[in-house]
């Protein structure tokens, strides 16, 4: 479960306030979507949840399964069960994808007091998860995300989520840069991970993704606050009418 209470955050460098009192609760097992126009603070929200140091929280709290994570470093949040699928997954030349996956998985296991996986066990798990997302072994041999297409990068994100088995997954515009086929593969990957013990926050511009990952609740974020909450039909309404009416209505 993810609870965000009266969250205010600004850019650390210049003090620009981006989030102005976000309230949001995602009960375990639910999928919530956040939609909103450009500049509403969607990506900032995802970064603040994940613990990026470029932002400063000035007020409010974020609870992950009841525990305040604002005092935690990014890696501690990840190991506590939070996963951020990046809008733009970073390319890291020189770090083999396999090495990265193994280091991440073992860091998670260690934090949970589990033994590191043996090489054969690790290979088996990765192969299985990779196959589900049409990720070839050849891709895994390459440096992390280097030379990957947009679709490959997003599939790689979802595979990492499948490996790390978080309790809360935050998907930041996972649909951006994907064609219809790639979108479907990614959405299937996410849907396979839905379950009674896992919640999702799906951030997107477009309703299209929500045809594939059907949310339980849809929120509209504007100017750093959630101005409207509804069911999945709210997304359809936004798609038909745009954001202007709802923003005007809230103002």
């Amino acid at each position: 479960m993810l609870e965000i209470k009266n969250l205010h955050a600004r850019i650390a460098d210049d003090g620009t306030e981006i989030l102005r009192g976000v309230d949001l609760t995602i009960p375990t097992g639910e999928v919530h979507a956040i939609m909103g126009p450009n500049g509403s603070g969607k990506s900032t929200l995802s970064y603040v949840i994940a613990g990026k140091e470029d932002y400063e929280v000035t007020e409010g709290e974020i609870l992950l399964d009841g525990e305040n994570i604002l005092e935690m470093d990014a890696h501690e949040r990840a190991n506590a069960g939070l996963f951020l699928a990046f809008q733009y997954p970073i390319e890291i030349p020189g770090v083999a994808t396999m090495t990265f996956l193994r280091t991440a998985l073992n860091a998670n296991r260690k934090a949970r007091g589990q033994e590191e996986l043996s090489t054969p066990d690790f290979m088996r798990v990765v192969k299985e998860k990779a196959a589900e997302l049409n990720i070839s072994m050849d891709m895994l041999k390459r440096p992390l995300n280097v030379g990957f297409s947009g679709g490959e990068k997003k599939r790689n994100e979802i595979m990492q989520m499948a490996l790390l088995e978080p309790s809360v997954g935050v998907l930041d515009e996972t649909d951006s840069g994907l064609d219809i086929d790639a979108l479907k593969v990614v959405a299937d990957g996410v849907n396979a991970l839905r379950g009674a013990d896992r919640s999702f926050l799906v951030i997107t511009h477009y309703q299209r993704l929500l045809n594939h990952i059907v949310p339980d609740v849809v929120h509209v974020l504007s100017n750093g606050r959630i101005i409207k909450t509804g069911n999945k039909d709210l997304a359809l309404e936004l798609e038909a009418k745009g954001y202007a009416d709802i923003i005007a209505e809230a103002a």
């Binding site: 994940a50 613990g51 990026k52 140091e53 470029d54 470093d73 990014a74 890696h75 990840a78 190991n79 951020l84 990046f86 997954p89 970073i90 890291i92 030349p93 020189g94 770090v95 090495t99 990265f100 280091t103 991440a104 860091a107 998670n108 934090a111 440096p143 990492q160 790390l164």
Partner: protein, 435 residues
């Protein structure tokens, strides 16, 4: 009229001159050799140690940095070389040539096709020349030539494909002396060899040393070199690696620089024969108050030469790294392709990197480029790893490893690659994991 101002000699400079007066008669070599040595010292008497007004030494001002000169290590015939533990070769199957405090102690298991003459003998016979006086920037060669008494002359016979790596380990026993060693390697026509140079000394000992290694690579020959400067944390290291490339030859050289308090490692490459290739790279890892200077000169004198120059540096604490790379393409050297890059990561606010890439091109049909970057670790890369649960020190280690490993790309699938990786891992284990 040129007005030469009377220069005040530093304590170190006086010590060098006095040491030479005492030692000159005992140094090996015939009268020509002695005259070469005297020429070098005559020049030294005028110029002293190189300093910041000598352009090539602007960032490594030896006059300021070398305040004292340790006594000269005893020459030949002055008793046994000090006992010290010689480490096993880095590559298990390697032959090993051991030089302690500037004296050749032994050469084990030299492979077929390779012959060695102790430098002291070669000098005594007059079969090797130390060369005459040169310009003020050649301070390392001058100091070495004046004082060197031993080392080795190594020949790889014509056509000899020597698979067994040869390790030249030059170590200091820890006695606080100044020692000099010189190795002359001649790689015969069509021959090939793999050579590991290791320059090491114990931590805490203020040893000073110069090491000149000169490689003459004949037509169609090739040489793979990896040079470790892993001196102890109080040492001063002055190194010069010279590569003379004949036609259709191929030389690779990887510098691993992690040791010494003060070091300057020069590389001087001359393309004397057409269609030759050079791949030179450097991995510098420094911390504390280390000063490490890697200086490179590549002279493309003839057409159709290709060279790549790739240098990676990681600098922590208050350390300073210097990279100077100068590629000269002579008017005749058409169709030269030279690609130089230097990238540095600064791990602390007080860390310092000086990069000075230079291209001097006199030919009009060439492809030459250089690029230099210097900065902090990329926070976005770091955050991506953190967001996957990888702790800070581990994330930093992964990124630094990736960054530095690129310096070893010239040895993809080569036994030297894993030597480079081991050195990187060891350094990161000791340093980068702290942050």
């Amino acid at each position: 009229m040129n007005m030469e101002l009377k220069r005040i000699r530093t304590e170190a400079e006086t010590a060098v001159l006095e040491a030479f007066i005492d030692a000159q008669e005992t140094l090996p070599g015939k009268s020509e050799t002695l005259s070469d040595r005297r020429q070098r010292m005559a020049l030294f008497e005028q110029q002293g140690l190189p300093h910041r007004r000598v352009e090539e030494w602007k960032y490594t001002d030896l006059r300021t940095l070398m305040r004292t000169i340790a006594p000269l290590a005893p020459s030949l015939g002055e008793g046994q070389a000090p006992e010290t533990d010689v480490p096993a070769p880095l590559l298990e199957d390697a032959a090993q040539i051991v030089v302690i405090d500037g004296r050749l102690v032994r050469a084990d298991n030299l492979p077929q096709g390779v012959t060695l003459t102790p430098l002291r003998d070669a000098l005594a016979e007059g079969s090797i020349s130390l060369g005459g006086a040169t310009t003020p920037d050649r301070a390392i060669d001058a100091l070495n030539a004046a004082f060197v008494s031993d080392g080795a002359a190594l020949t790889v016979e014509k056509g000899g494909k020597v698979e067994t790596p040869i390790e030249i380990v030059s170590l200091r026993s820890g006695v606080e002396e100044m020692s000099h060693m010189r190795v002359e390697v001649s790689v015969g026509e069509g021959a090939s060899a793999k050579i590991v140079e290791r320059h090491i000394s114990p931590d805490g000992a203020e040893t000073q040393s110069s090491a000149v290694t000169r490689y003459a690579v004949a037509d169609d020959a090739s040489i793979d070199l990896i040079r470790f400067q892993m001196e102890g944390n109080a040492a001063t290291h002055l190194g010069e690696t010279v590569l003379d490339l004949s036609g259709k030859s191929h030389a690779k050289l990887l510098h691993i620089v992690a040791g010494a308090k003060l070091s300057r490692s020069e590389t001087r490459v001359t393309f004397n024969g057409e269609e030759s290739r050079l791949d030179v790279a450097g991995i510098t890892m420094v911390a504390d108050r280390q000063h490490a200077d890697l200086t490179l000169y590549v002279d493309h004198l003839v057409p159709f030469g290709d060279s790549t120059e790739t240098f990676k540096s990681v600098i922590d604490d208050r350390a300073r790294a210097v990279f100077q790379g100068k590629i000269v393409v002579a008017q005749d050297a058409q169709k030269t392709d030279a690609q130089m890059s230097t990238n540095a990561l600064l791990l602390s606010e007080a860390a310092d990197m000086i990069a000075k890439p230079e291209l001097e091109i006199f030919a009009d049909d060439v492809s030459c480029a250089h690029g230099a970057t210097c900065g902090e670790m990329d926070e976005d890369l770091l955050f991506y790893l953190l967001a996957r649960g990888i702790p800070h020190n581990e994330a930093r280690r992964l990124l630094l490893q990736a960054f530095l490993s690129e310096g070893a790309e010239l040895y993809d699938d080569h036994p030297f690659q894993s030597l480079a990786f081991d050195a990187i891992d060891r350094w990161l284990e000791e340093h980068a994991a702290r942050g």
